[in-house]
């Protein structure tokens, strides 16, 4: 009751209403100021731009729901990019699937170090970030890799019924992750591990294996993002991927997935990814520069967590 007295008008339901009204007003404002935003060309373009971050962020959601954290996704993206272009020179399928296995392996290594040896995930993935970047550089001798096989570009550049292939990959990844998290025992168990690992362990859940698996899933997603990006660009650099980890974490957190684990969903992450994408798209359409985008992104992140905390303190 005390809390209610402090926030007299702000019941959770009214907050939801307020959020909907704000969203509608924002759409109207966008329509009025930048009509080009709603052209189908721009919407397709926007989706294509968010696809890479969306794929990584889906994986990041899984690991963060399990209470973990992954800083190595950018490095895995870089490694899988150069690897896929190199392998696609012999066989396209080889080039698309091998990096995924490698990403899963790198993720599994993170997961085992975190769960078996109880090392802080921040440190493990920081260390493996160095290791993976090192292997990408050793593999390419530091050179940018150029694609020589036109068939490899299908995944990044073609479209199906007007929808670009990266967007299809992104939506499939999101759908599979959502199904896995909310409609399987593994997903339910992961939520349990994320909210209280010890309790989950003592209830007989294989908490360590689940954690390790969640890291493997994130690594696979990051590797898939690397393959799609390489296929879209036709080139891959061994030092690419800088900043992707933080963009993905930003999207997950803006969506409202808790950094302490045990709560969140892919749907929320999709909202976060889209919000960041729409923001940068609008700022570009409005002729704003990269620096203004960075400032706006930073402010949105802080505002989103502040709002999330405020909402959670309300009486339900």
């Amino acid at each position: 009751m005390q809390v209610r007295r402090r926030f007299p008008w702000w019941h959770a339901r009214e907050l939801k209403f307020l959020a909907s009204v704000t969203a509608i007003l924002a759409v109207l404002l966008i329509y009025w100021t930048t009509p080009t935003f709603f052209t189908s060309g721009n919407v397709i373009n926007l989706l294509r731009q968010v696809a890479i971050n969306g794929i990584i962020a889906s994986g990041m959601t899984i690991v963060m729901i399990g209470g973990g954290f992954d800083l190595s996704v950018g490095a895995i993206l870089a490694l899988s990019g150069v690897l896929s272009i190199q392998l696609a020179k012999t066989n396209v399928w080889f080039g698309m699937l091998c990096p995924l296995a490698l990403g899963a392996g790198a993720g599994l290594m993170n997961g085992i170090l975190v769960s078996r040896y109880a090392i802080n995930p921040l440190i493990v993935t920081l260390g493996s970030r160095y290791l993976v970047y090192a292997s990408a550089n050793l593999f390419t001798a530091g050179f940018i890799q150029y694609n020589e096989n036109p068939a490899f570009l299908v995944l990044g550049r073609n479209s199906l019924a007007g929808v670009p292939a990266p967007v299809i990959v992104f939506l499939s990844v999101a759908l599979i992750s959502q199904l896995m998290l909310n409609h399987t025992t593994i997903g339910a168990a992961l939520f349990a591990v994320g909210s209280n690992e010890r309790a989950a362990f003592f209830s007989g859940l294989p908490s360590r294996n689940l954690l390790a698996l969640s890291y493997a899933a994130t690594g696979t997603c990051a590797a898939l993002a690397g393959v799609v990006l390489a296929s879209r660009l036709g080139v891959a650099a061994p030092d690419a991927g800088e900043g992707y980890e933080l963009d993905a974490i930003a999207a997950v957190v803006i969506g409202g997935t808790s950094i302490r684990g045990g709560a969140g969903s892919i749907r929320q992450t999709l909202a976060g990814v889209l919000l960041l994408g729409v923001l940068s798209n609008l700022l570009v359409l409005a002729g704003q520069s990269y620096e203004v985008q960075r400032i706006a992104t930073g402010l949105i992140i802080v505002l989103a967590v502040a709002f999330d905390l405020y909402r959670r303190r309300l009486p339900q």
Partner: protein, 318 residues
């Protein structure tokens, strides 16, 4: 006596550092020459100052990812502000750092938002501000007096090393011999207990972030002066490097354990390793691989030690 020596985390790490120095010196005698050792110190002093600030924040259970962006912003401001006089420009840079730290501190300490997310946000915003102020270009400095801060000497000691030493001394004194420092350890060890013990948790935390950001800004000024440039793109890797140094030194990321001297040892390990591997002509890729492995192995050993001591205390540990 040896066992007691080894039980102390810092002495174990000093031993490791000594082995490292000895090993590299036998492989490459140039490493141990005074000129090179001075280089090692010089190279680690800028990141070292940042790592000292970060230690303060990590001790009270937080984290600051915005330190790299603050070094960039303060470097740019230091050069931009020069027409107003060098002292004023320096003050401007430090104040900007303090402002960012205060923002972090208020959001994390008072409003209780998660430190990782808040500083991720301020990192993006401050990077943007640095780019905006510099119009995206590195701004060349005027040289001359401006280069004194990073290139000057005092009694044959390069000024950055001297500043690093002063920061270590002041930081160590602050953490070990002042009420503020003891409070920070208490907060990092158990926040709720600290609050019940009547420690002003919120304001202590807030000041820790301000201190960290001011040190990052100071390091940014030295860097700008050494490069004679205010560049918006420096500091990209600084937070991760500094966290690596803090962790290698043995400060626990969950707070309450560690100290400035530990961080200095961690920083020295990284510095010696980088310099030694450079002298030995090891390619950067292998250097990253070695650094990454060392980080994971040292953290793993720490974790194993912690668990074995806990297991003797509580037999129910999973």
């Amino acid at each position: 006596m040896i066992r007691r020596f080894l039980a102390e985390g810092n002495s174990r790490r000093l031993l490791l550092l000594a082995v490292l120095v000895f090993g590299i010196s036998t492989l490459e005698i140039r490493f141990i020459q005074p000129a090179n050792l001075r280089n090692v110190l010089l190279q680690m002093s800028m990141d070292g100052i940042v790592a000292c600030g970060l230690t303060v924040v990590i001790l009270c259970g937080g984290l600051d990812l915005s330190v790299g962006a603050v070094t960039a912003l303060s470097g740019v401001l230091f050069v931009i502000g020069l027409p107003l006089g060098i002292g004023f420009a320096g003050l401007l840079a430090l104040l900007a750092g303090a402002g960012v730290g205060l923002l972090n501190g208020v959001l994390i300490g008072k409003i209780k938002l998660n430190s990782l997310i808040v500083t991720l946000g301020t990192m993006a915003a401050v990077q943007g501000a640095a780019f905006w102020l510099s119009r995206g270009h590195p701004i060349p400095g005027p040289g001359g007096d401006f280069e004194m801060l990073g290139g000057g000497f005092f009694l044959y000691i390069p000024l950055p090393i001297l500043f690093f030493g002063l920061v270590i001394l002041a930081g160590h004194t602050l953490l070990q011999h002042s009420q503020f420092g003891r409070d920070l350890y208490a907060i990092g060890g158990n926040r709720e207990a600290a609050r019940l013990a009547d420690i002003a948790v919120e304001s202590r935390e807030c000041w820790a972030y301000v201190l960290c950001a001011v040190l990052a800004a100071f390091s940014g000024m030295i860097l700008a002066s050494r490069l004679n440039t205010g560049s918006p793109i420096v500091g990209r890797d600084t937070p991760l490097q500094a966290i690596a140094a803090v962790v290698l030194g043995g400060t626990s990321l969950s707070g309450g354990q560690g100290g400035i001297l530990s961080t200095v040892i961690g920083m020295a390990m990284i510095g010696v390793l980088s310099n030694g591997l450079n002298l030995l002509n090891v390619s950067p890729a292998y250097q990253w691989a070695i650094k990454g492995s060392v980080l994971i192995v040292v953290a793993g050993l720490d974790s194993a030690r912690r668990h074995s001591t806990q297991r003797t205390a509580h037999t129910t540990q999973p």
